[in-house]
């Protein structure tokens, strides 16, 4: 398949936009059902793109990015599946495009690596965000957001164009690479999963006092119980909130009553429970 510079540029732009859209903006453009026809049109086979999009979408439905967990990347997967389907000139039926979906998987995995890398690097940039906030620098905060979107978009654009020229040969190289260094990527995955604890620890520093420890453990226990039960696991956090709200309202009412009584001289002392 002959690829012109214009086509490569257009693929870059589409991958750039979709790379951003997977987390921000409309959060729907990136779905394969939309992305694949666009890539198909760029490469000159719109109809094939539509069919690949439908087929990939059905696979994708089962793997949504939920609660911070990241499945293999649908955008890179969708783009490359279309590229392979067009270059191999596959038949535009649901069965015909199956081979293209398989060839695209290494790229989907690398798309995910790009996301992991970005999220890890941006964790380091949060110190910068703290500094901008401290200075009241509104533009700085905006620019940090632009920075990540631009970075992520470029990574996706580069990966897509590399895939466009490198084809299935590059796919094999990528697969070998990730096979050999699987421990590094697993390490990043494990570390990424643990970084949120830093955010929790900062929140605890704000709210914690000696008598709060019990509530922390109670919330922890409540969450464990709800998630262990199949029927309630989906609603774990909302159930935690229900119990937490009950305790908080009870405490609020008790404390305000104590304060009122203290005001009327019924209970002595300045102690108001804080």
């Amino acid at each position: 398949m002959q690829i012109s510079i214009i086509q490569a540029l257009l693929v870059f732009v589409v991958a750039f936009i979709m790379g951003i859209d997977q987390f921000s903006f409309l959060e729907s453009l990136y779905q394969p059902i939309v992305t694949c026809p666009i890539i198909g049109a760029i490469l000159g086979n719109f109809e094939l793109g539509v069919v690949v999009g439908g087929a990939y979408q059905l696979i994708q439905i089962g793997s949504m990015p939920i609660g911070g967990a990241q499945p293999p990347n649908a955008i890179m997967g969708g783009i490359m599946a279309t590229v392979f389907a067009v270059s191999l000139n596959l038949e535009a039926t649901a069965d015909g495009v199956g081979a293209a979906l398989g060839l695209a998987i290494p790229f989907a995995v690398f798309g995910q690596y790009a996301v992991t890398l970005t999220f890890t690097l941006m964790s380091g940039m949060m110190a910068k965000a703290d500094k901008y906030a401290e200075e009241g620098n509104v533009k700085g905060i905006r620019n940090l957001n632009f920075l990540e979107m631009g970075f992520l978009g470029c990574l996706f654009g580069i990966l897509a164009v590399a895939g466009l020229y490198g084809g299935s040969l590059l796919g094999e190289t990528l697969q070998n690479f990730s096979y050999q260094f699987s421990w590094v990527m697993a390490g990043l995955d494990a570390a990424g999963g643990a970084m949120r604890f830093v955010g929790f620890a900062i929140l605890m520093k704000v709210m914690m006092s000696n008598e709060m420890w019990g509530f922390l453990l109670a919330g922890f226990a409540m969450s464990l119980l709800c998630s262990a039960n199949k029927a309630t696991s989906g609603a774990t956090l909302i159930l935690c909130a229900f119990v937490g709200v009950a305790i908080a309202i009870y405490d609020f009412n008790t404390q305000t009553k104590i304060k009122q009584n203290a005001g009327s001289g019924f209970v002595g002392g300045e102690e108001d429970g804080i």
């Binding site: 998987i105 570390a191 922890f220 969450s223 956090l237 909302i238 908080a248 304060k259």
Partner: protein
Amino acid sequence: MAYNIPEKYQDLTPAPQLDKKTLNKMVWLSCFLQASFNYERMQACGWLWGILPGLQKIHTNKEDLKASMAHNLDFLNTHPFLVTFVMGIVLSLEQNKADTQTIRSVRISAAGPLGGIGDALFWLTLVPITAGLTANMAMQGQIIGAVLFLIIFNAVQFAVRFGLMYWSYGLGTKAVTMLTSNAKEFTRAASILGIFVVGGLIANYGSTSVRLIVGETQINIQSLLDGVLPKLIPLLITLGLYVLIKKGWTPVKCIVLILVVGILGCAFGIWSGNSQAMDADGNTLPGGYTPLVEWYEYPTPEE
């Protein structure tokens, strides 16, 4: 964390109601909630960007704006389509100049549970239904499938975003004036709820576990730990980090430590991690990855 966020704003006179234009602007910006998503604070920086137009209107005092910006960078993770609900509540508190600690506690208490509801509503219900129906049209070569998908999905998305912003802002401003007359008690109650939810988040989002399988009898260390207390490792890491941060460690230092421990640990096959890598035949690797130093045998899954 050199900057200590003050407990109270300097200017305690309630700010006037926000106008429609500002509220709408924040709804549009809320689409970029995850623009600077990262592992440490997740949506924090995108959240701040989105809510800034309101904060700038509310805090005419420069020092107050700084304090408000600083505490609005707390860890935040909620569903992107439901975030305007949290925005409305937080804005009503900011407008009434509630204590910063109250706002922080209320924010995480509202945001956390909404994340779970949103996933269930949108990713597990709306997307499968609309995408499932339209994908079949697409597979027959009809582009109308993609068009329909975009229209339905975005109509729902924006109805939810706008609706929740106005509803929760109105609700919040009504409730807050009542509560702030007992500000101290309210802060305390909000902290209890906040800390309760954080406890829940540790168990719910804490996925860190060990991969070790040792000995002749293939003892699974993680299931031993689960026998002691499920999610013991997430709890211990959080408490450890809390101690470090209280000692004055910066978040960046903590993150570097986690990164080093994470990658070194996986070199020796200690942590569970998913590399998503595949061997030449396209099979995934047993245990998620192959450690650099293989000093124990990971059982191959039974067919």
